[in-house]
């Protein structure tokens, strides 16, 4: 059994890790920390875990993280970069669900995240945990930077097109829509039900932190810089991301075949039949990305529709997928949940 530690388990990615790990055949939770909730039972905070997780939160100062095989950071940005070094030195592998190790260019990271990076040397070592592109490196990684939710949906949607070089890489548009759990479990006004329900809006038009992460990923797919417009929207639902991606074709290609071939061996990417439209609820609670590719009116614009559950394939599920790879488990271990529909 893999011995698991979780740092910061009171947010949505934390509770989702707990939900998934409670059903994992090869993992056992050793310790979960929270400064604010130390001593409280996890299941008192999240009654959905009653009968599944009986442990209390441990004060970080007293937590024996070094005896774990792997530690997940389900913390705000800026925490893992301060604590990862010590764990790695102790032989513990680390998966960061926040953004600390996602962007290779330290200056870019510091600009978008507004902090000085505490361990830039680890950024170089960290492997970007998108298994569909970095599977081999993840297997041997000590430190994995788990991708953001939007970046997962967008990269998996654009990947076949950019790898095949069949679209204009300089004019990519990602119109992305997220449920409110993507904003985290924070008491903020704009995500109150009375503010966000029965409402739809864009935000971050001037720039969103996931833009440089996506750009870096897309650039590596085609080997050259890309031009990307990235527009996030807040949607009145709890979970789910829907990415609507636009690109201009510059080659004749069987798009359906291209996507099916690219993802034929991927356990967690499901290419829908021609003409289909994926819906976010079809992946609710599951580690699946469903994509469909369209060419409206037969023109030269290709439209890719890509959906994930932001808390699973966009966060906790992908983190466990990475853990499975790192520890030699079957990649799908603990991740076979059937989506909850309706």
């Amino acid at each position: 059994m893999i011995k698991i530690g979780i740092v910061g388990g009171t947010g949505y990615t934390g509770v989702e890790l707990l939900r998934l790990l409670a059903q994992h055949p090869h993992a056992r939770l050793n310790v979960i920390t929270s400064r604010g909730e130390a001593g409280q039972r996890v299941s008192d905070m999240f009654p959905s875990l009653r009968g599944h997780v009986d442990m209390p939160f441990t004060n970080p100062a007293q937590a024996d993280l070094k005896s774990c095989d792997v530690v997940f950071f389900a913390t705000p940005n800026g925490i893992a970069m301060q604590q990862a070094r010590e764990l790695l030195d102790a032989g513990v592998r680390v998966i960061d669900l926040a953004a600390d190790f996602r962007i290779k260019d330290i200056a870019v990271w510091e600009k978008w995240y507004g902090m000085t990076h505490a361990s830039p040397e680890l950024v170089a070592e960290a492997v970007y945990g998108l298994p569909e592109i970095n599977r081999a490196q993840i297997k041997s990684a000590r430190l994995v930077a788990n991708p953001g939710c939007y970046p997962t949906a967008v990269q998996l949607g654009f990947m076949p097109l950019l790898e095949a070089g069949v679209v204009d890489r300089l004019r990519l548009i990602a119109d992305v829509k997220s449920g409110v759990s993507g904003a985290g479990r924070k008491a903020e006004m704009h995500i109150l039900l009375a503010e966000a329900a029965d409402n739809f809006k864009a935000y971050g038009a001037s720039g969103h932190r996931h833009l440089p992460e996506v750009s870096q990923g897309l650039t590596s797919m085609c080997g050259k810089p890309v031009g990307l417009t990235f527009m996030p929207h807040l949607t009145p639902m709890i979970r789910g991301i829907h990415a609507t991606l636009y690109a201009t074709l510059n080659a004749e290609v069987d798009l359906q075949q291209l996507f099916e071939a690219r993802y034929a061996d991927e356990p967690f990417v499901d290419v829908l039949p021609k003409g289909a439209h994926p819906e976010t609820r079809s992946v609710r609670g599951a580690n699946t990305c469903r994509v469909a590719v369209h060419r409206p009116q037969g023109g030269d614009t290709v439209v890719v529709l890509s959906v994930i559950d932001n808390l699973v394939k966009g966060a906790a599920g992908q983190a466990i997928q990475n853990m499975n790879l790192m520890f030699g488990c079957p990649e799908t271990a603990g991740l076979k949940q059937v989506p909850l529909l309706p």
Copy 2:
């Protein structure tokens, strides 16, 4: 492996049976029928099942249900009563998720359901599938009448009080609230999102079909007729039932202790700590009933709060719990899902 047949798999209880059975360690789906969708793959209708259920719907006329060990009827009322006899005669056990066999008094059933009963002799044989009260009989039953969703939540809430005889059985009130999936997967105007969202209303004040079912159950708990006011409400959510139950105490009793003792050995009833309020999302997707008992202001009114997922403990999950009992599986086999929260 238990060989499973499902009659009528295109409704919400059908897709929920499929979701749960896909993860069951001792069951395998043999056949699923639908007149309207014969030939179509189940997963084309419910994309959430892609990769989990690869079977098409079979035309009922061609379906080999008799080779199954058990057949679930996830049909409208009035179907199982016409087909159960033939299956039972062939040695197949039957679990009806509709109402055909729930009410022992045929005249009462016919009045509330507006049909002539096609096999009244089976009603006498059928076991009412509420394991918390009928566990022993279920184990040996050939034919199980799976309880309704409201009746499950209400009976589990009142049971400790009525069995102990500590409340006035003639003045019981059940104020119940259901998500819209309780109305079934039917194209009806009043459950459109544009009609039912951001809205709350009562319905059926003059009488709801679950009233005689609940009354029968409560009567059997205390051995005498009960007086029950039953008020259902439609709530703008997908899943979940919340029953708020009122009764007048006529004896001094430690309510918390009474409930905890009654359900100490029940795997699917969770008594919350004193002072707690269960929420429907804490059981979303799981076969759990969570209850809390209150005595506001220390008066003689006891208030019980009882929540279930109407599609799981209120339908498909409870049906599988019954199947487990009937076939000697561990009662919790295939039913260990952690609720999806948020």
Copy 3:
């Protein structure tokens, strides 16, 4: 034109007052205060008011409230009781939308609200602003205590029964459900969309502040103490309260006729036809209370269904109705909005 001042206009009752007053034929907003938002334009905070309210928030210290004819307090509890005296002394009439002056028994108020009352002498003078029962006193009042949202729905539902003395006053049950805007515009975790959507729960079973307010009102209707169980629930919608009220009949009476006669002359209480179920959206945005009365199965339990928009008849609309009475305007002035449906 009535010169209006609003203290604390950044909450939901504040923005609702602004929405309604912007359309009032006899009122004009003079000043609106906010400590935190002073200088900001109201319509920058609430873009829905662009083109309708062009004023900025004024710092309370500089606000000339004394030149107003009436000042509305749309503040948290405990503010109006400190400032009302000075305004009243200056000849300004005051309508408090918070709870400071609602409960006549100071000790009871202090117990439930956890504060020492700053101006108990004003409590005696204050008129409880439920026009359907206190119309005459409101007309001449200097200080009006605008009722709470739950209390409005519950009192209007029980009123005909208690005034006529046809139910057991000692065994009343109010099972009440509220949309989340009833919790106010506050950044709190439990009313986040990701926490409160697709969910239903009771709260405050051990006691809610609206209980003593309702009890006081019901007591005054029948002239004797009442026994009331009051159970609030949080509903996943923005606006709306639905009260389901239970009482035991102790006299034969034509309930429909009783209700219709009681409310025949009330402009804002609509008794639905026999057998109907009011829905909250049917009063969305309007100052109307719709009620229906039922007697399930012809038994001795009477069930009243009562719906209001918590921000209108339950707060800002009723406050304007009171203002109309105080200033001799037609009672419906500025309150003729048609509910928004769907």
Copy 4:
């Protein structure tokens, strides 16, 4: 007073017309027809109208529409084209809220709507009722084709750019999101709350009927054919459309100034300050379109955000705006509602 007739008043545009007309100072409802609901009171179907609309539905065969000054068709597509001629001949002016007269090219219309047009000669006469571009012609029109909901939001968003000729007209993208009331008041499975809530999906990627309508409008703005990709999405909310529009700049221009100048005199288009993001609820229930223009990262992609209430500016409100123009009323008469927020 303008004498009003409404044909087909049982859908969402019908009830919205009734809501708005009930408050109109210069209009009076004479007759409203419905084949299916003849004899029933309008307010029995829509309780929100109790006290505001006391008329019953009239059987179309008996309806005296010719004595009206104007008749609104709030019918499915294909009805107005059969009945408009007779009304026009009788001197009645006609506003069609369906699509019968929106598209000038009959062959295109017949292809997208799958019917033979019953009165092509009227198509030539009909004026497309987007006041911001056709105000003068609307004033003198006998027959107005009220625009679709998506087309209103998209055209008002692109208009300043295309009229000024500052973007590449051959590469326009409209990513549009609609609340479910846009699908009409029809009992269809995919818009059930249990199907559409907590879910997001695209639809109609291969082609939506609003595409040719929008293309025609954009073409007329720049005088040359446009290339448009139009992607609609279903959003889990009742009302509201959010259009996110993408175009490539081919000239240097002050975008904010361009938009503010274009709409300076428009009573129902509100250009938000630089950097703002309009939200759909900010126009809920009102005839306003709010737009914001962005240039992310200072690149050559312009992003326009445009929101309307699909039932008001996208249907009934715009129809009344057109009526006001046709009958010489102030353009804003009856359309001054403040949006309902929250």
